[in-house]
Point group: C2
Chain length 149, copies 2
DNA sequence: GCTTGACCTCAAGTGAACTTGAAGTGGCAG
DNA sequence: CTGCCACTTCAAGTTCACTTGAGGTCAAGC
């Protein structure tokens, strides 16, 4: 199997070399060996990077992504935690759906003040109808740690 | 109509007073007046904060959220931009769906190495099947500005 | 009139996720 | 053998979204 150096991985994934080194430091990916100084990556790192990108889109921190898909931790991760994550993403999808519908409404509704439009208010209310005031329960944890009270 | 002071808004929204001041500075919300030094907010700020939370969940920066829902900019925002945002959220929902399915698969599949599991690889591939390698076209713009090449 | 306490401002600090810059290394083409 | 250049390390810098801390204000209650 052909190994890729960091420039190749960067070109194929769209992720900057500096970010790749950062990910390696963080334990999200690993180079299989060195060729001189240069890192050599297995092609499957491209798949892992796709996974990382997906996790980032979902708002997970790199630390959390490492917990889900990182090297060697995978086998030890309790399956319940994974399902919890999946459920959290489901809730996030609901919220995103409400936001998308709200945006489309705003684009179509010619009302001067959207705050007075009942359709608008109803759309916004729909997103909050699940867990009270918390919308991202166990996700990025940096803003929720203090706000969640 | 009864006005709320910052502590009240914080209590009802779950957003810290310091964050509310920060949002005001950033033009996302506005206090209607002052009572002495104290900001007085109209109740509808709670709706705006819900909107802001939704935008954050979607990965938009505060600046972008201000562009979508901020004070007084709303009426000038081209409707095409809103629809574009909505489309971007649709793509994000697709990606999130793939991630959720992947997570559920990992939780159920007992394979020792997921990288070798064809179902796993197929799930990951599904997320990338839209715009080539870019997944968040016009969203947060801080990592895409350099990576998008 | 004095105290209380929730508010105020402003500057600096924080953490995440990178990027940038400086100085160095080393495989390979010529 | 030389020089190139893509890589290397490490420290410091950047942006975002806040939080924290110090010192100050003021409406209200006793």
């Amino acid at each position: 199997m052909e190994l890729l150096d960091i420039g190749e991985v960067s070109a194929r994934s769209g992720v900057q070399p500096s970010a790749l080194r950062y990910y390696e430091d963080a334990g999200l990916i690993a180079s299989v060996r060195r060729h001189g100084l240069r890192r050599q990556f297995a092609p499957e790192v491209l798949l892992q990077l796709k996974l990382i990108a997906m996790g980032k889109t979902a708002g997970f921190s790199l630390h959390e992504i490492a917990g889900m898909f990182g090297q060697s931790e995978l086998k030890e991760l309790p399956r319940a935690v994974l399902r919890e994550r999946a459920d959290a993403i489901d809730r996030q999808i609901d919220e995103l759906t409400a936001l998308r519908d709200t945006l489309r409404h705003v684009a179509d509704c010619a009302a001067p003040s959207h705050m007075e439009c009942p359709t608008f208010r109803r759309l916004i209310d729909m997103a909050g109808r699940r867990g009270g005031k918390r919308s991202k329960p166990a996700l990025s944890s940096r803003q929720d740690s203090k706000q969640g009270g």
